[in-house]
């Protein structure tokens, strides 16, 4: 069967149908959602580590480890303690994985307190201290492998009851706020854009879109004619995130000394 687009004789219909081809989400958002949800997946993998018997436990753990960051180590015990929402909290505030990896002790308990997840109280390991996190993860791993009976009900129950929703508005709110800054910049209100970025950073100190926010700020300074400021910030950004897709463009803003 052929598509209407190629068979219709009506120009108006064809125009409507072909306009659909142009529509799509912005690549930036796809990237940030992918990052946020990848961590979420590790969380659910963590939950299944405890609920699945024998060999599945091993694969689950391998999968978690193969993501290559300490994120997995941080998230797994959180999930098992029933704080799926808490784990999302971590994700929302700490998108650049290198930062999380550098300071897991700082982010994990923070998310725990902030998540206000109703199930956090019920989780049997809600008193996890920062130092005990990796140990707890190992312990659960062993529990899953040797006596899945004991660990499974906790994790299954936790996974069922933990509301994952609180995180969604949070990241959506971040996206909305950054979009405001972007459109301010796009419509020539560069100083508004800088103010909006600063407000965003104040409200989301570990924002998932922190890098994007910084890019907006740098471009805003450049647009304002504050080349020295733009150059300095661009140099910092490029040095810190050389692999970031924005970096090649920002290098162009760095002034020669």
């Amino acid at each position: 069967v052929k598509r209407l687009h190629s068979t219709t004789n009506d120009d108006f219909e064809r125009a409507l149908l072909s306009s659909a081809r142009e529509a799509g989400p912005s690549p930036d958002i796809v990237r940030s959602v992918a990052t946020a949800l990848a961590a979420a997946a590790v969380t659910s993998a963590g939950a299944s580590v405890a609920s699945a018997p024998g060999h599945l436990t091993v694969t689950g753990k391998l999968a978690a480890l193969s993501t290559g960051t300490k994120l997995a180590v941080v998230l797994a015990p959180l999930a098992i303690a029933g704080a799926v929402a808490g784990a999302f909290g971590v994700v929302d505030r700490s998108s650049p994985p290198d930062l999380v990896a550098a300071k897991p002790e700082a982010t994990a308990p923070r998310a725990f307190n902030e998540s206000q997840s109703p199930s956090a109280d019920r989780g049997e390991e809600h008193s996890i201290s920062p130092e005990s996190l990796p140990v707890a993860e190992l312990a659960v791993g062993f529990a899953g492998a040797s006596s899945s009976q004991s660990a499974a009900p906790v994790a299954a129950d936790a996974a069922e009851s933990a509301p994952a929703r609180p995180s969604a508005p949070s990241i959506a709110e971040e996206v909305r706020r950054l979009d405001q800054a972007r459109s301010a910049l796009a419509s020539g209100r560069a100083s508004d854009a800088i103010a909006l970025v600063s407000a965003y950073e104040r409200d989301f100190p570990r924002g998932a879109l922190a890098r994007e926010a910084q890019v907006v700020r740098i471009e805003a300074y450049a647009k304002l004619g504050q080349a020295a400021m733009a150059s300095q910030l661009a140099a910092q950004f490029v040095a810190r995130y050389p692999e970031d897709p924005h970096s090649p463009r920002l290098r162009g803003l760095v002034l020669p000394r």
Binding site: E22, L37, S44, S48
Partner: protein
């Protein structure tokens, strides 16, 4: 999951849009779809990811439309700018305008027809896969598609007529 998002985010986002989710809510809703998928990752058979996502997206979109109907003030129609009054600066805007009109046409279609129409005509999913996604027989997809095309043509004429009328300043 990262792969899942990278491969299918665009599909889900577009599908939600064609199924009537407001542009301002698209990214929220798309994230919610993937959030659900992420939690049920182990239930999804490999190779059927897109079908699963389409199912979730369809239900989300239906819920979003119900919520929108509950709020009477709708922004969508105000965004339709009469074309003749403003010579369009570039093709980009024209495309955007056609998209708004397209959504208007889709909005006026019956829900089951709209879903099949969007999947087949706009997302270019093949009929057997649609049947699988919606858990309906292939024959039903075919007949819905025929009816959907007829309805689309009819509504498109209506929208065009209304649009032409509006662009002449609302007087005949």
């Amino acid at each position: 999951v990262k792969l899942l998002v990278q491969e299918h985010y665009r599909f889900v986002w577009r599908l939600l849009r064609w199924l009537g989710v407001q542009e301002s809510e698209l990214d929220d809703k798309a994230q919610e779809v993937f959030l659900i998928a992420a939690r049920r990752l182990s239930d999804i058979e490999s190779g059927r990811e897109r079908g699963f996502l389409a199912g979730v997206a369809t239900r989300k979109a239906a819920a979003a439309r119900r919520a929108m109907r509950a709020r009477p003030e709708s922004v969508a129609l105000d965004q339709v700018e009469p074309a003749a009054n403003h010579p369009l600066p570039d093709a980009q805007l024209e495309t955007q305008q056609a998209q708004v009109l397209l959504c208007e046409v889709l909005d006026s279609m019956a829900e089951d027809l709209r879903t099949v129409f969007c999947l087949f005509e706009l997302e270019e999913v093949e009929i057997p896969e649609i049947a699988c996604m919606l858990s309906i027989p292939v024959g039903t997809v075919g007949s819905r598609l025929r009816r959907a095309r007829a309805e689309f043509s009819q509504k498109a004429r209506l929208v065009r007529a209304r649009h032409a009328w509006a662009s002449r300043g609302g007087s005949l």
